[in-house]
Symmetry: C2
Subunit: 143 residues, 2 copies
């Protein structure tokens, strides 16, 4: 498949969560940068470095969970020309079950390269207590 080109970090992030929802490993891996070291930290506390380790971990996740829907709220975004960072609260839904799992706390890092925006780092960890803050949004473009 031709590598997709994401015009914004948000486009890359949406493609990431859509690939998770579809259990589509190739689409998921196409969101990651392929010319930089990449890091993925799962909610279990496993830290993976590099394409091969990250691909293998997601292959295992998708094998066990056919459908994972991630709902993202309370976002804070910092954007510059070549790097963008998004901080979110994630809630996870498994299959058609409407029971929310989480919340989890996420820091996503994106890089703009020759082929558009790609994911460099995805750090997810469990929230230690219920997050009751309103679902507000914050966007910051650095000048």
């Amino acid at each position: 498949m031709n590598a997709p080109r994401f015009a914004t970090a948000e486009d890359a992030e949406n493609a990431f969560y859509e690939a998770v929802a579809r259990g589509d490993l190739e689409a998921l891996m196409a969101v990651w940068a392929d010319d930089e070291e990449i890091v993925c930290i799962h909610p279990t506390g496993l830290r993976l470095r590099g394409v091969a380790a990250i691909r293998e971990s997601w292959r295992g996740i998708f094998a066990g969970n056919p459908q994972l829907t991630v709902h993202v709220t309370q976002s804070v975004r910092w954007t510059s020309m070549l790097l963008a960072v998004h901080s979110h609260v994630e809630t996870l839904y498994i299959g058609s079950d409407t029971t929310p799992h989480g919340p989890m706390l996420t820091t996503n890092v994106f890089q703009r390269g020759a082929n558009g925006w790609r994911l460099l780092s995805h750090h997810v960890s469990p929230a230690g207590e219920a997050v009751t803050e309103a679902d507000d949004e914050a966007r910051h473009t650095l000048h």
Copy 2:
């Protein structure tokens, strides 16, 4: 106190961990950006937004633990003109006790502004298993 000016993200990060080691709340808060929304996620899973909430949480941490030494390894760094992101494995030492606590996984985000580099986001979470990877370093400057 006059606000310090950090010439690099590494300088800001070193000042952050030195302030933690000294339990110096003013020095710690001087590392954070004061003109952007800031986010701090503690290993307990508590996500704080804004200077007031972050200051109060560290005030409490310093009140209970007079000396916290953080040893950082296995770093991956991505740097651009205005944003820099560092991913580390942290080991924590409390007081003069040589027992290591952790490991913990960290994503630090820095912004370059008019007053040099400052911290935007500090996301720490427990590592779920022993990290046995070698203490290698990776630095990436985006072009």
